[in-house]
Structure formats: C-alpha cells, structure tokens
Symmetry: D2
Subunit: 130 residues, 4 copies
C-alpha cells in the first residue's frame, strides 16, 4: 500500500538551469532525492549510516519529462512510497511547476539498502514508514 503524498518545496536556482533556459534534466533526480530524504528524515539517515553502516542506493529510475521548469520557480515535489519487498522501496514522485495542471516531471524510483561493502540488506523499518 502506498503512503500519502508528501509535499516538499524546491527552489530553482541558477545552478539548476542550463543554457537552454530550463532545469537540466539530471537535476530532477537530485530534487527527488532531497524529497525522499525529507520523508525519511536527515537525522535518521545519518544515524543509519553512522551506527549501522547502512545507506540507500537507487537501483532503477524511470523518469518522464513533460515540461521544463525555469529559473526562480518554486517546485512542489510530491512523493509516495511503498515497500515492494523486504529489500525494495518503490517511490512515485512528481515535480509540479507553480500553477501547473499536470506534473512537469514524473518518476518511479526503486531504492535498495546496502551496507558499506555494497551488500544488500533489508530495508530498515524507519525508512519504510513513508
């Protein structure tokens, strides 16, 4: 079962755009990750990393681009998560421009949990609460 949608604001800065005038395509993956970190919580992510040696890695990303966000806009990232198995979180995430009637960018992101030796580990309960 998927979680409620979490909402997260992202400001588009000079650094995010490219010379074509819109946000560089790879940067939406950064936005989506910032939003995921906000859902799980930076303190919990730091704790998992320092105490248990656990981190998250993107295993699969499918991204559809419909519209390009521009400098100065505040985007809303909407994120839903479900635990697909003991070893995989599936996130559905969207980036909305101000006043947009549909998402500018949509993504499905699969996350796994790995230890310091890059071995797969079960998803920690705190990360799946969504």
């Amino acid at each position: 079962m998927e979680s409620e949608a979490h909402r997260f604001q992202v400001q588009v800065y000079y650094e995010d755009t490219d010379h074509s005038g819109v946000v560089y395509h790879a940067n939406y993956l950064k936005y989506f990750e910032r939003a995921r970190e906000a859902v799980i919580g930076p303190a919990e992510l730091v704790r998992l990393w320092k105490e248990a040696g656990l981190g998250f890695a993107v295993y699969r990303a499918e991204v559809g681009y419909q519209d390009g966000a521009e400098f100065g806009e505040t985007l809303e990232i909407r994120s839903r998560v479900r635990k697909d198995s003991d070893y995989r979180l599936v996130w559905h995430q969207e980036a909305w421009r101000p006043g947009g009637r549909k998402p500018a960018v949509k993504a499905e992101i699969h996350l796994v949990c790995i230890d310091r030796h890059k071995n797969l580990r079960p998803i920690p309960p705190t990360a799946a609460a969504g």
Copy 2:
C-alpha cells in the same frame, strides 16, 4: 536500425562521487549526455542552436544501476542510437567500469528536438546519423 556502438571515456573525479564512496546516481545521466554530444559533435550542436534555434530535450529516461563506479576510475560509455520516428531518437547507453564483465549502469534515453519556444521539431538529419 540501431547504430554501431560509440565508445566514450569518462574520468571519475571527486565532484562525481558522494559520501557513500561511489558515483552519485544522477551523474550517470551527465555522462550519458556527454557521450551523446560527442556522437553528434559539439560544433554541430552549437550550429543547430545558434543558426536554427534547435536544441535537444530528454523526454524519457530509464536507468538501471547494477554497480557503483569509484573515484579515479575511467569509465567507458557505450552508446547506440536509432531514429524511432521523425520526432524521436532512442539511445541505448551503458557505463562500464574498468575490467567490468557487465555494464555498471544501463539506460534507455528518449530525445526530442525543440525550438526556442519549446515546440517539437523534426529531428535534424545530422543528429540522427549516429
């Protein structure tokens, strides 16, 4: 029909990695784009942009991550392209670590051509030569 595989080298610098010790996942999209630009040719891309107001936009990206590249490695990006329609190029791209037996990262990237007003335009012949 898909083109022959083009090969392109990418060096992994400090800037590319994150604190988990491997290349940050969004950066492979940058590597794949550098490789596409090398195939089409920077001079031709500049000419299309300045003379015809044409640029390329990623419309869809599917990326599978199998292994994480590390600081100091030279990756090989292998790229194949086919023209899917007058309006879409489909690229299959892989990132190989040194001595790797399978690709560390695989992607399918769909490109469209747009003018300065973000209107779809036919793919220029020089960009589809692959």
Copy 3:
C-alpha cells in the same frame, strides 16, 4: 555601509558531498549564491532578467575553508552586502555548521550586473537594498 546579516538555511544532501565524506568545495559557492538570491528575492531576479535583460555575474570570489560540513547537517549561511560602487556589490558570506564556534567557510564575493550582451550595467537599486 554593510547590511545586517541575513540568515539562510541549507540542507546537506548526498549530492553535496564527495567520497572524502564532506561537502565538495565548489558547492559552497552554490550555497552562497542561493543565499544571495534569497536576499534579493527570486521574483525580483526573474523580473530583472525578463523585463530588463539584466543578470548578475560573479567577478571575483575569495573563499577560505576551515572545516568540512557533513551529510545530513543543516548549515546556516550568513550574508552581508555593501554597494562598493555603482557597478559592484561586495558580499561577505559565511557557512556555519550546527553548533559551530566559528564559520566553516568564509567568502568575499564580488558581483557585477550585466545585460544580455555581457555589457556592464549599473547595479539595480532593488539588488543593493540587501
């Protein structure tokens, strides 16, 4: 005369760090710019760009690094600005780690205003209010 210090929060994400475990040195320039944009206001920056064709360019940057911020931290960026002449803004900016007793990074950043043809233009009054 220099303005009061403006305070701006920055969250350190995976994307900001490198494999050495701390924030990649170039990224503090991004943080400082985000803070400057917050002082001037994104809406005003967009207006200057779209209506008057005016943007800002960094002309000089002096950055001193004392300590490295880590993943998961919330940094405070403290920014002061003074108008050095009709053509130059000088910013003093600092990045503070949580609980820090001195700034982790300090910078002096000189900004000029340029039009679309890269010609120098006087600093707009709205940008110098600080």
Copy 4:
C-alpha cells in the same frame, strides 16, 4: 619554484552552463580540480587514498572571472604548482577559451593534505612533483 604549465582540455557541456548562457561560476572550480588530478595522476591519488588514507582539501581559493565560456567550447586549463611549505601546495590555474587573448578565469588555489580524521599531514612527495 613553480612548475611548468600543464595543459588540460575541458569540454563545456549542457550540464556546465546556466540559463544566462555561460558556464556557471562554481564549475570552474571543478575544471581546475580535474586539471590538478590530471597532473598528480588518478592512480596515485587512488593509491594515496586507499593505502595511506590521505586526501587533498582546498584550503583557500581566489578566483577572478573575466569572461564567460559558452556551450560547446573546448577550454584549456593551464596549471602551475609550487610547494609553499611542507604542508601547502599553491596552484595557479587559468581557463582559456578557444582563441582567447587572455584567460577567461584565473585562480590561485591552496591545497593541504589531510588524513581520514581531517588532521593535517605533510604533502606527499608524489603530489608536489607537479
């Protein structure tokens, strides 16, 4: 005594530019670091990191921006280094646009060597050879 100038090519990609049409100012710090890594050698940097736990950190950066590089250009990074003390390398680095008559960007970058606990360590001889 300063070394001979090392020359290193950098290609300007979409990812490097911002919506003002030129290379984003922080990215020159990335270019300069790539050039420094090429001088020292990636293999030696990896060896120092893995075997001795040693890395390099930027302690001070002074950057002057005179001209903005554009998409599609190949820049030449010219780098000179001298060992200022047992604990500090000072690099003078410049970014030249194609056909430029003076550097587009000039920088003085001070590097220190640190171990995994962020303690200062003497500059390894292999890093000072320049």
